[in-house]
């Protein structure tokens, strides 16, 4: 199955010297089946969606900080239907909220972490010439783009975008406008992820080079492997649920609609007999594994970079791998911890609290192992390492604040407050996003043959680190005070919220400053593609196999098929000539 539609150099990279049959622009950059090109397409699209999701949030933050105040300049551009005279309408706020969540999770982080890094790095790290099913890979990306476009267009159709939260709870999602496009978009995205997952698993199992046993995998490969299984087995139930919700909206069925609904005084004309909890179960059956899909690839990236920049092997690699597999398995049986307030009996509550507690242990083990790996290292603080190191305490905060939510009883005051928002943003924003930034800086030279600028990188890092905490730390205090999430006015009408309302202003300014600190990154990113300092194939002096390929890797990746002779992190081996002994060197 030879792949004509592929190119040697990544799409971004102008002049490249690798020899191959020249193809037209379209086959080369748009309909390519080369895992590297697809990976880069995924990454760029994902980054753009992250930026877009962030933009939506910055709008919301205005309304949260200054409820009802007209937003200068931009406000009026958004049209009478959304922001008459620059002041936001509640339904537009809800659209922004739902779409921010959806876009960040399904169109930002997953495409970048799995579609981007997975596609680009995984085959290289296992020494494969490409993915097992290159055409499928292309389809997966195209299906993702279709899903993304559907989501974007939904802002423009009458009724607007989805406005029932990223959780799309029935019955609200069925009677509220906007959800249809969301559901269709989700079906595309799910299909894309399923195709991707199949490809990743098959590739990892089949295409790893001679000598690369599972226990010699770089940790990143392991995380992608487990992630793929989560996607493969957890997404279909949501696909089924999405189909049923579509039926409820379009065909008038009542899968999620109980009998006797009265909406604004009118008895709803449906058969009834459905069950709103069914949606929640099916949604969270996916969405809990999904949150681990968000974190695992980032964990993998962080592990790679820590090993490389401490110049020593990861501490407790095996225990990390076992914990990872166990964590992946457990993540399928904790979903109802998102439903503690739906009226669970003692047994069910006990079960899900227990599983949730159990699942926190492997996370602790992995994090601890990563921290201990620092001991005895000779630590280089370059930009990727800074992000990777900062990831640890940030994820720590996010993870630890998961614990009070994990007990049904303590979840009572905290459920659906800003405490939850704080919890998961610490894991996804300064957590996952940091991991992804680290990965971008780390593998950029492999993709382009050029380095990103360190100074700009450091500015980006410190600015982002500070701002992230300014944005999210106050949310814990607001949550403790009992302020609900998804409030159009940030809680302004509630007396009990008054003492903490000023934190809304703090968060907002934090978010806007955060945006400013992304500018050096965006500039750095594009500038370095063409102007960055040229470097060799292995600028970080790393041990894993992707660095055996030329940078940028030609079509087919390796000049001659590599072989693995040892574990992934043989740094500073006593008695060795240099302080790193690559896997692929006999």
């Amino acid at each position: 199955m030879s792949q004509p539609g592929a190119v040697a150099a990544p799409a971004l990279h102008g002049a490249h010297e690798a020899h191959h049959e020249e193809l037209g622009f379209w086959r080369k950059y748009v309909f390519s089946t080369d895992h590297k090109v697809i990976g880069i397409q995924y990454a760029i699209t994902g980054l753009l969606f992250l930026l877009f999701g962030f933009a939506l949030m910055m709008l919301m933050r205005w309304q949260l900080a200054y409820p009802g105040a007209a937003l200068p300049l931009i406000g009026n551009l958004l049209g009478e239907a959304r922001m008459p005279g620059g002041t936001m309408l509640p339904d537009f706020y809800n659209e922004l909220g739902a779409m921010h969540g959806t876009i960040m999770v399904f169109l930002g982080v997953v495409p970048l972490a799995v579609g981007g890094f997975g596609n680009f790095v995984l085959p290289l790290q296992i020494g494969a010439p490409d993915m097992a099913f290159p055409k499928l890979n292309m389809l997966s990306y195209q299906s993702f783009v279709l899903g993304g476009l559907t989501m974007l267009v939904s802002f423009l159709v009458p009724g607007g975008a989805a406005q029932s939260g990223w959780t799309s709870y029935a019955p609200l999602a069925i009677i509220a406008p906007g959800q249809t496009m969301w559901l269709v978009g989700m079906i595309f995205l799910i299909t894309s992820s399923l195709l991707g997952a199949i490809n990743f698993i098959a590739t990892t199992i089949q295409l790893r080079v001679k000598g690369l046993t599972f226990m010699r995998f770089p940790f990143f490969v392991w995380t992608q492997f487990v992630t793929a299984f989560l996607l493969l087995l957890a997404f279909p139930p949501l696909e089924a649920a999405a189909v049923m919700q579509l039926m409820d909206r379009l065909a008038g069925t009542s899968f999620f609609l109980p009998s006797g609904l009265v909406v604004s005084g009118q008895v709803l004309a449906v058969a009834g007999g459905g069950n709103p909890l069914l949606w929640q179960h099916l949604f969270w059956f996916l969405a809990h594994p999904e949150v681990y899909v968000l974190i695992l690839p980032a964990l993998g990236i962080v592990a790679e970079i820590i090993a490389n920049n401490t110049r020593k092997p990861l501490w407790g690699y095996r225990s990390m791998v076992y914990s990872l597999v166990f964590l992946g398995f457990m993540s399928f049986i904790v979903w109802a911890h998102h439903m503690f307030m739906t009226g669970m009996g003692t047994e069910m509550a006990a079960f899900f609290q227990t599983t949730t507690m159990i699942i926190s242990i492997p996370s602790v083990v992995i994090l601890t192992a990563l921290i201990i790996s620092l001991w005895g290292g000779s630590i280089r603080f370059n930009t990727p390492m800074l992000f990777a190191v900062a990831f640890l305490p940030m994820f720590g905060i996010g993870g630890l604040t998961g614990l009070p939510l994990a007990f049904n009883i303590t979840d009572i005051p905290l459920h659906d407050t800003y405490y939850v928002i704080g919890h998961f943003h610490y894991v996804v924003a300064p957590g996952t996003i940091f991991g992804l930034f680290a990965g971008l800086y780390y593998w950029f030279p492999k993709a382009t043959g050029r380095m990103m600028n360190e100074t700009l990188g450091k500015i980006h890092f410190f600015g982002t680190l500070v701002c992230m905490n300014v944005v999210f730390m106050p949310m814990f205090l607001m949550g403790m005070a009992g302020v609900s999430r998804r409030l159009f006015d940030g809680g302004a009408i509630y007396d009990f919220a008054q003492p903490v309302l000023h934190f809304n202003v703090v968060s907002s300014w934090g978010a806007w400053t955060l945006a400013i600190f992304q500018i050096p990154f965006i500039f750095n990113f594009f500038w370095s593609i063409w102007k960055g300092a040229k470097v060799g194939d292995n600028p970080w002096q790393a041990t894993t196999i992707e660095w055996a390929a030329p940078s940028p890797p030609p079509h087919g990746n390796f000049v001659e098929a590599p072989q693995a002779y040892r574990g992934p992190y043989e740094y500073s081996v006593p008695g060795a000539a240099k302080d790193f002994t690559p896997q692929h060197e006999a």
Binding site: M1, P129, L233, A271, G274, H555
Partner: protein, 196 residues
Amino acid sequence: MDIPYTVEVRRDTGLTNGKIGIWLFLASEVMLFGALFASYILIRVGNPSWPRGDTILNVPLATFNTVVLISSSVTMVMAWASLMRHRFGTFRIYMGATILLGFVFLVVKYFEYSHKFHDGLYPSTNNFLALYFTLTGLHMLHVFGGMVVNAYFWGPGAKLWKTNPVWFTNRVEHSGLFWHFVDLVWIFLFPVLYLL
């Protein structure tokens, strides 16, 4: 550049990429229909009264369709077996039969549906019909998909037989696996929807 193990099996796993791929895909399909069956149970248990399928649906017709689908499964394996015996002609016949039977299944289903609509029975009528239409509808989509793939291997795809018979045989086996799965789903749908 060639992807390894598309045709020959990898020694340590004893499998080709395609074989793993199709089974992974089927695994996800299991979860898809599993979720729908789970929903069926939950909604059925949640309702005080639930109609017996045969009071609303046409059992003889469905029985006939079951027979059709099972037969198509047999012709499918026979198609693959004939390739293993290097009998391309018989392969064409069996594969053709498989596609035809799939078509018959869809036609029968079409009559069932239109009859329901004619009687004013729609998905919105009640949750039994909602489940009936959703489950069978999704299943029909799968039947159709399988037919498209099979048609491809019957027609244009068959060129591969000349250049790389082993690979072609594998691909037919894989599309067969999908087809049998679709049959398998029906084997459960039939009693659950029509007989209970």
